[in-house]
């Protein structure tokens, strides 16, 4: 149709200016998407947490242990279905720079608590029956080229000594935000070694992971658990897994906030650039719009033409960004897996790109479109003729 062709030709009348605007929008939206993806990665632990899981730890601090004997009493609290003891193991493979998270857990209950860690039944059985076995995430296996049957020795930091273990299973995440870079070993393996080497540290654990049937009772159950141990030598603090994870994240809250702000500032800047492009287009072609109005085209139609032109540019930029962003994050994932175990562009971020494309296009064209739509014909001709 002729009108669409006119809009298209007008949008690319100044080819360089249009291209720079499109590239600008694309870069800004890509940067925005990247920052959001980094934030998502940071918050992945929080979003992956389940409302049906609680964590009980020492009320004084995370580094203080709890008596393992608490397990049985917690299990008896009404509403508690599963209890699994766990420790941050803190083992190192060869060198500090090979860092990855590793936990000692009560494996059987732990797997019931974390159904999102998917293991074949055969591998699971192999892991459960080998006290010196370990289960590792798929990405961790890829990183060190480890396979089922390999023996890996970790150097203990919190639990001194050399810790040989055999990889018995490799888990996959059932959800995109499941962390696939963790190693789990048996809590009992650690405890038995402690009994022999440092008996005063045996029978203790870092935290308990708790499964509850009714997520709406989380607050009540937490209170009941903590009440059990009030005035004992190790008081407890029980909170939802989400709150627990957020405790880790919150120390860097200022940084997260800064990244969030910057990501929107970038959008604001590109909005100003696009608005400038549209204002220039409108000003330069005011005479042409006056001609169209003279011929009988209604003012609103002219305004919509300019709006369509603006959207054509901004959405071209958004389309470009939607291609760029996944390509860039892919490259990131390959190089930064150890810092951001979960690094992928969320659906929401992907949808925000065209949404902001529309917003930038509309806002950039708003004032110029009104100007064009309400142009006074005789006055416009006086300016050009």
């Amino acid at each position: 149709m002729l009108l669409l062709r006119l809009i298209f030709k007008n949008a690319f009348r100044h080819r360089l200016r249009s291209m720079l605007t499109i590239v600008g929008v694309a870069i800004a939206l890509t940067a925005f998407g990247l920052m959001r993806t980094v934030l998502d990665a940071w918050n992945a632990g929080v979003s992956a947490s389940s409302a049906n899981r609680l964590v009980t730890r020492n009320a004084v601090s995370l580094t203080q242990p709890l008596p393992y004997a608490y397990r049985g009493r917690i299990r008896q609290v009404t509403g508690v279905d599963i209890v699994a003891a766990g420790n941050w193991f803190g083992g190192i493979y060869l060198d500090e720079k090979n860092f990855f998270a590793n936990f000692a857990v009560e494996a059987e209950d732990f797997f019931r608590l974390y159904p999102e860690l998917v293991v074949t039944p055969a591998e699971q059985k192999a892991f459960l029956t080998d006290r010196k076995g370990a289960v590792i995430g798929r990405k961790l296996a890829d990183r060190f080229h480890w396979r089922v049957g390999d023996t890996v020795t970790l150097r203990g930091t919190i639990f001194p000594g050399q810790w040989p273990m055999t990889i018995r299973a490799i888990y996959k995440g059932a959800r995109p935000d499941t962390d696939e870079t963790v190693l789990y070993l048996h809590w009992s393996y650690v405890d038995e070694v402690m009994k022999k080497t440092t008996p005063r540290r045996a029978g203790q654990t870092g935290f308990f992971m708790i499964g509850i049937g009714d997520a709406t009772k989380a607050a009540e159950i937490s209170k009941d658990i903590d009440a059990l141990f009030r005035n004992s030598q190790a008081e407890t603090l029980t909170e939802t897994e989400k709150a627990f994870q957020m405790g880790f994240v919150s120390m860097s809250e200022a940084i997260l906030m800064a990244i969030t702000v910057v990501s929107y500032v970038v959008i604001g800047i590109i909005l100003a650039v696009a608005a400038n492009t549209m204002a220039m287009s409108a000003r330069e072609r005011l005479g042409e719009f006056a001609v169209l109005k003279t011929l009988g085209f209604p003012g609103p139609t002219l305004g919509l033409m300019l709006l369509a032109e603006s959207l054509l540019l901004s959405l071209s930029g958004a389309a470009l960004a939607m291609g760029l962003l996944p390509a860039i994050t892919d490259a990131f994932t390959k190089n930064l897996a150890q810092y951001f175990p979960i690094f992928f562009v969320s659906r929401e971020t992907m949808l925000l790109l065209p949404a902001f494309g529309v917003a930038v296009g509309v806002l950039a064209a708003a004032a110029p479109a009104v100007r064009v739509g309400t142009v006074r014909i005789a006055a416009a001709f006086r300016r050009i003729g």
């Binding site: 002729l2 030709k9 005479g287 009988g296 003012g299």
Partner: protein
């Protein structure tokens, strides 16, 4: 010739305001334009010729008075109604052609037909017929920049007649042309007047151009008189 006038202008006044100053441009102008007339408006620069023409064509507002065209007082129409009225009744020819530079000659001529209910195919046939009528059937795919001034003005005239309006208004249509092209354009306008019976109102300060018209009226100091 006792024909019913097509355009009746009564007690038309208009002034511009510049700061506190009021600049009267047209004061109490009354005259008729007959159907099929070819009227030239002449007068010194700044005398209000363009302003009067714009008011008649419905692209500028009056302060007082009425302009009745084909029975409709266009000074009472809303902006939207006026736009629709213009697209049906008036064809425009400007001094600087005012073609859309990114469109071809044929597309420029087709443009006003977008406001009609014609099919795309019918629009193109009409546009081609109009270009043929102005003698440019072989320039359909040229952009304005690839045409001479005279040719661009022909395309503009084709655009003005493609909707088959009753009235053609032209503001200095030869003002930007060499003498030869100007003569061609005047001959073309006269042919439209004689063969298609278009009523033409033309502003010019070119006496040679004015000679092509039936009737010449001179505007001076806001008042109108029939020129000698």
């Amino acid at each position: 010739m006792t024909q019913q006038p097509l355009i009746e202008i009564a007690h038309l006044s208009k002034s511009y305001r510049r700061g506190d100053q009021v600049i009267p441009v047209l004061s109490d102008i009354t005259f008729d334009i007959a159907t099929g007339e070819f009227l030239a408006l002449i007068g010194p620069s700044g005398s209000g010729k363009s302003t009067l023409l714009n008011c008649i064509a419905g692209i500028d507002a009056v302060d007082a008075g009425t302009i009745t065209i084909g029975g409709t007082d266009i000074t009472t129409l809303s902006e939207g109604e006026l736009a629709a009225w213009r697209s049906r009744h008036v064809g425009f020819v400007f001094q600087f052609y005012n073609l859309i530079p990114v469109l071809t000659a044929l597309e420029n001529v087709e443009l006003p037909l977008l406001l009609t209910s014609l099919s795309a195919r019918a629009r193109q046939e009409h546009a081609l017929a109009a270009l043929t009528a102005v003698g440019l059937p072989d320039r359909t795919d040229h952009k304005p920049a690839q045409l001479s001034g005279g040719q661009q003005q022909r395309v503009a005239i084709a655009r003005a007649i493609v909707t088959d309006p009753d009235i053609i208004v032209a503001d200095e249509p030869t003002g930007d042309l060499d003498r030869h092209s100007a003569a061609d354009i005047m001959a073309l306008l006269r042919r439209l007047n004689q063969e298609l019976n278009k009523t033409i109102v033309m502003v010019t300060h070119d006496h040679r151009a004015a000679e092509a018209a039936h009737l010449v009226r001179e505007l001076d100091k806001g008042e109108l008189r029939v020129a000698p």
